[in-house]
């Protein structure tokens, strides 16, 4: 019986040890680590990318210590809400839908979305145009109609729970067959293998893949922004955390004035994506 008691006590002790209490002054920032060049993981298992660098810069300005927490994309918002971390910096665009659940800081960078196909595909290469879905003119509409025709019945891959998936589901591009993936890496693999006809993601995500895999993809159609694509990428913060929201907003202001965001964007994206 004594032995039994001992085991039971050590079990309970172990349980509380593992649960622990994580409260401290340290700000924890969640990122995905699978969306290069925004955020990724290198061969030593370290989180890298534009947002990882920027997060540390912002924390330096705020005078806080920070740690980066890895979190799968599909559990990002639930994890923020349950308190696993305090802020999201994961290439997450500011959209009305997400604003219902969490707050966003001002945007720190902007991304445009683009379709990509594997080289040799019959779908035509890039039109130089960019379309802002908030202000569609007749020429834009023509481009959209042409895309609708080219993509009719085609299989298009996107990462699950993204603005890109929402856009395809909105019907603005007509009836397409949408396949969803857990990560952008998986989308790229299946696109390169030829399992899907096209993919939709941030243009830089495809450019990054091209630079690593040897230019196997072509970006096609116009680039997209506005509308379902939201208004830039910002820091996601819990609804009741207004102090942290203010801190992030002012630190982004400072970082922008000092040219830090621009410098990091050019380092990771190859152009100035700051906003």
């Amino acid at each position: 019986m004594r032995m039994l008691n001992k085991t039971l006590i050590s079990f309970i002790a172990l349980f509380f040890l593992l649960i622990g209490n994580s409260y401290s002054d340290n700000i924890k920032i969640g990122t995905e680590g699978a969306y290069p060049p925004w955020n990724a993981k290198d061969a030593s298992g370290k989180l890298i990318g534009f947002e990882v660098d920027l997060a540390f810069e912002l924390c330096k300005i705020m005078g806080h210590s920070c740690s980066i927490v890895e979190q799968d994309w599909d559990g990002m918002i639930p994890a923020l809400q349950s308190g696993k971390f305090d802020a999201i910096m994961a290439g997450m665009s500011i959209t009305d839908e997400r604003k219902k659940k969490i707050n966003f800081s001002q945007g720190y960078a902007d991304e445009v979305a683009s379709f990509a196909v594997v080289k040799g595909s019959k779908i035509k290469p890039r039109t130089v145009k960019s379309i802002n879905l908030n202000e569609i003119d007749s020429a834009d509409q023509k481009t959209l109609d042409a895309l609708k025709k080219a993509f009719e019945g085609k299989i298009i891959g996107v990462q699950t729970g993204t603005i890109h998936q929402n856009f395809l589901k909105s019907g603005q591009i007509g009836k397409v067959n949408v396949w969803t993936y857990k990560t952008q890496d998986e989308v790229n693999l299946d696109l390169a293998a030829g399992r899907i006809d096209a993919a939709l993601a941030a243009a830089v995500a495809f450019e990054d893949y091209n630079s690593k895999a040897g230019n196997v993809l072509n970006l096609v159609g116009p680039t997209f922004s506005g509308g379902t694509f939201g208004s830039g990428v910002g820091v996601g913060i819990r609804k009741n955390d207004s102090q942290l929201l203010n801190d992030f907003n002012s630190s982004i202001d400072t970082a922008r004035k000092k040219g830090i965001i621009k410098k990091l964007a050019i380092k990771h994206f190859g152009f100035d994506a700051s906003m």
Partner: protein, 229 residues
């Protein structure tokens, strides 16, 4: 092969640590399973109908619902559930349930359902004659259980526990969806980063094969050691 170099350039050291993680999460889950079996075997053997129903529900649900669905329940709902319970006790801070515990607990609950069935079967096969014998000797129930029944049950249960262990070990691959960096997760990251899924998934399969083969040998040895009959 250079993909497997230890250090910053290759994935060798990462996969090595991931293997250790797989082993430790599997062992933890297996032990958590024992803990649940310890509770649910008596519950299932009880003559009380309500208790029996609770016991049966546990084993039916956790053996009949896909592991992945159970893991998603814990992954998306785990922290919330624990914090809800903590709130009842007046504790309002965030409680971190790390990926390790989420994974070990969900796999452990499944493992426990299988272990419960194994132990129950072993106890039933010992027969009630022995219990009556104990009564006539005037032994206390608990003393008798620990010194006479338990060793026999364990011996009878070893081969089937070996199977439960194999199931548990392989189930840990599914925890990768929660972000715990075990073999499968690390291979997934490496495959995405190097665009070489074939190599890394085959390598992962080889690691699992080595683990399952060694544990099979271990359980066979145990079986031989304790099989007096």
């Amino acid at each position: 092969m250079e993909l497997l170099i230890f250090g910053d350039k290759g994935w060798g050291d990462e996969l090595f640590y991931a293997t250790l993680m797989t082993i430790s999460v599997a062992i933890t889950a297996f032990l958590i399973g024992f803990f649940f079996a310890f509770i649910f075997v008596p519950v299932k053997l009880s003559k009380n109908k309500i208790l029996k129903f609770i016991g049966n529900t546990y084993t039916t649900v956790f053996r009949g619902v896909p592991e992945l669905l159970i893991i998603y329940l814990f992954f998306f709902g785990g922290s919330g559930a624990v914090m809800y319970v903590a709130k009842i006790f007046g504790y309002n801070e965030y409680i971190e349930i790390n990926a390790f515990l989420t994974g070990a607990l969900s796999i452990g609950l499944i493992s426990g359902a299988y272990s419960t069935e194994v132990f129950r079967g072993a106890i039933l096969s010992i027969g009630s004659g022995q219990f009556e014998g104990a009564k006539s000797l005037g032994l206390k129930k608990i003393t008798y259980f620990i010194y006479v029944i338990l060793p026999q049950v364990l011996r009878l249960a070893i081969p089937n526990l070996g199977n439960v262990w194999q199931i548990t070990l392989k189930d840990t691959a599914l925890i990768s969806v929660t972000g715990l960096v075990e073999i499968m997760r690390q291979s997934y990251i490496a495959a995405g980063s190097t665009r070489n899924p074939l190599f890394f998934y085959i390598f992962a399969a080889v690691i699992y094969l080595i683990l399952t083969t060694f544990s099979l040998k271990f359980f066979n040895k145990l079986e031989r050691k304790y099989n007096f009959s």
